[in-house]
């Protein structure tokens, strides 16, 4: 009578502090250039070395340019952070997939792609979208830099057991609706804080029918409703994805692992603190109109009228739509778009790029729109070129760039100018997220691709 979460959690408890948190053992730790330097410095101040360097994988992603990656990084502070990561990894014997390495890429894209991420593991990273790895039936969550230091020093964290929520999604998805729409729909229903304090398990026939990459998109955005993480029980789809990956178990090890992985599911009588049921048929292609990911509607919908918002929340609502320069009660379809960003740890994998390419093949981008396609990893970039997707993008007037976090958070040069609208496949539409005063519409790769062609927020179903 245990849930998937409890099965994994209990196997990782080193000890339980009476009336306090558990000491949780961490199997895999991903690090990147932005949230690790202070942790290495803290460790060195204590005269410590990394305790288990072989359980850490490092990459450079947040700060890196997406053009001319073979040249030194122009922006000085970004360059210094990437250099600090290189130096720290060398000093502590941590494997680094830095710029130019064939395995480099966004940390949450490369982990699964290399088979580092596996079912039943505990996985952390100084990045809130670590929830992505939960798609494999791992307990994966984002941590702060002090916690990065703790894991470097002891391979453990002090954690209180979260409450558990299960979201069941049943039935067939409508035409034009993809996994990004599922998660944007869920967040719009339960709000940007609706799952705070919970770990979420996604279940049901709709989830079972999704590919691993589509499942990753869903788990990735668990944090956008406040959940520490999201997870999905592993199944044949999971095993087929992992088989043959660079760091996945091989031979006898694989057979042994598989026996363990097959035990990872919620028992029929497992208890959840909250359970939500969703009919897949009610989900439309989604778009956000505000400044948190909970502010989303079906693409043919309207912004709420002010009087539909509860009174205490009206000032925040009005501030948000003022930032977006959109009116209460207005339609979102038809709003002009200036930029299209297809990328980020949410939607920058092969299937995302293929989905965009198959839609835009033979079409041309709208005149005034700039379109950036930023693959999630070097492997994705090379595969896209091998499949000829680069030619399709080029013919459509899109730019295929090099891997990194890019315009999801605008730490590098890829910023959306003030006042401009960007339809983005990333995960956050916060004020200034994509650049000071930039305005973000979050959507699926398909909905973003249509907007690239029409130059405005459009309904993909009109094209299918």
């Amino acid at each position: 009578m245990k849930s998937l979460f409890e099965k994994v959690w209990q196997k990782h408890i080193v000890q339980q502090i009476p009336d306090g948190p558990s000491v949780l053992y961490i199997d895999r730790h991903f690090i990147h250039e932005v949230t690790s330097p202070q942790a290495f410095a803290g460790l060195e101040k204590r005269g410590l070395k990394v305790f288990r360097p072989k359980q850490i994988v490092a990459t450079a992603d947040h700060n890196v340019p997406t053009l001319d990656q073979h040249l030194p990084i122009k922006e000085e502070l970004s360059r210094l952070q990437v250099e600090a990561l290189t130096k720290n990894c060398a000093n502590h014997g941590v494997e680094l997939y830095g710029l130019g390495h064939p395995y480099q890429g966004i940390v949450h894209v490369i982990g699964p792609e290399l088979g580092v991420t596996q079912p039943g593991m505990t996985i952390v990273c100084g990045d809130s979208h670590t929830s992505t790895h939960g798609a494999f039936g791992a307990i994966a969550f984002g941590i702060g830099t002090s916690e990065v230091e703790m894991v470097m020093a002891t391979q453990c964290l002090l954690q209180s057991k979260p409450k558990l929520m299960r979201i069941n999604i049943e039935g067939e998805l409508n035409k034009g609706v993809v996994s990004k729409d599922i998660i944007l729909y869920i967040i719009s229903k339960i709000s940007a804080s609706g799952a705070t304090g919970y770990f979420v398990e996604y279940a049901g026939s709709t989830i079972r029918g999704l590919s691993m990459e589509a499942r990753m998109t869903i788990c990735n955005m668990s944090i956008e409703m406040g959940a520490r993480g999201g997870m999905i029980a592993p199944d044949e789809t999971t095993y087929a994805y992992l088989k043959g990956k660079a760091m996945a178990p091989k031979g006898e090890e694989w057979d042994k692992a598989l026996v363990e992985w097959k035990k990872l599911y919620s028992d029929t009588d497992a208890k959840f603190d909250r359970e939500i049921n969703i009919d897949a048929a009610t989900i439309e292609p989604m778009i956000t109109y505000g400044t948190n990911p909970g502010m989303g509607v079906g693409v043919t919908g309207h912004l709420p009228e002010t009087n539909e918002i509860i009174e205490s929340e009206r000032p925040s609502y009005l501030k948000s739509i003022q930032y977006m320069n959109l009116g209460a009660g207005t339609k979102i379809k038809g709003r002009k778009v200036d930029y299209v960003f297809i990328g980020s740890c949410t939607n920058s994998r092969m299937e995302d790029l293929r989905m965009v390419a198959s839609f835009v093949k033979g079409k041309q981008k709208a005149k005034d729109v700039e379109v950036w396609i930023v693959p999630g990893s070097r492997q994705v970039e090379l595969q896209a070129r091998e499949e000829g997707l680069d030619k399709i993008f080029e013919a459509a007037g899109f730019q295929l760039r090099q891997p990194g976090c890019s315009a999801c958070l605008g730490m590098n040069e890829d910023k959306i100018p003030a006042g401009k609208y960007c339809i983005s496949t990333s995960n956050r539409n916060f004020e200034g997220r994509q650049g000071p005063n930039a305005r973000t519409f979050l959507a699926s790769p398909l909905t973003a691709a249509v907007a690239a062609i029409t130059g405005e927020v459009s309904d993909v179903r009109d094209w299918l």
Binding site: Q15, A41, L80, S146, T196, M411
Partner: protein, 198 residues
């Protein structure tokens, strides 16, 4: 200097905004430091200044209003959502805050705050509105936070409410202990755990 905290009696800054995300607390472009210091000057950067220009403070932003200052930030619900960047807690601490009061906190922010001896105090929506009313009526109003006894009091009216904190964390804060010290102290147990069949 001991990091320990217990009783804080001070004025506060009322920030009514809800869903204050860590990108607002400190925008990503200011995360490029490699030390923990100096993030305070970019706290709420894009809410504080027009066109990213320190010579153009936004007059209607509460941190630019000289009437309001203090060691306590009082904010709308779901404070600290979004990115896991601990820089948000560092920026608040560096700008002189020791306590954040809200009716709801995002999980990762709460852990980060506690690891930096920045005390997150969660109160009811009703009590939060009472604090806003008191401090907006009189910016010199004092709030008292007592960690040992787990209550927060509006000094002017005497109204108070208790708040929750886990016993282990409370002990750490009262004594200035870090989680890492504890984890290092049990390293032999961790090594033993690693060799066990799981």
């Amino acid at each position: 200097m001991s990091k320990a905290i217990n009783i804080i009696k001070n004025t506060c800054v009322p920030l009514r905004n809800e869903n204050v995300d860590t990108d607002q607390i400190i925008p990503a472009r200011f995360l490029k430091g490699t030390s923990r210091d100096g993030f305070g000057k970019n706290l709420f950067r894009d809410w504080r200044y027009e066109n990213n220009d320190e010579a153009q403070p936004k007059k209607d932003f509460i941190l630019n209003n000289p009437s309001f200052h203090g060691k306590i930030l009082v904010a709308g619900k779901n404070f600290g959502c979004g990115s896991s960047r601990e820089h948000a807690a560092w920026a608040l601490k560096d700008a002189g805050f020791d306590v954040v009061v809200s009716s709801f906190f995002a999980d990762i922010f709460k852990s980060n705050a506690l690891n930096n001896f920045l005390l997150p105090v969660q109160v009811s929506d009703t009590f939060l509105q009472k604090i806003f009313a008191a401090v907006e009526a009189d910016p010199t109003s004092l709030l008292e936070i007592n960690l040992a006894d787990q209550y927060i009091r509006i000094m002017a009216t005497g109204e108070h409410e208790s708040f929750e904190i886990n016993h282990y964390k409370k002990t750490c804060l009262l004594n200035g202990y870090d989680d890492i010290d504890f984890l290092l102290s049990i390293k032999p147990d961790i090594e033993k755990f690693e060799t066990q069949e799981r």
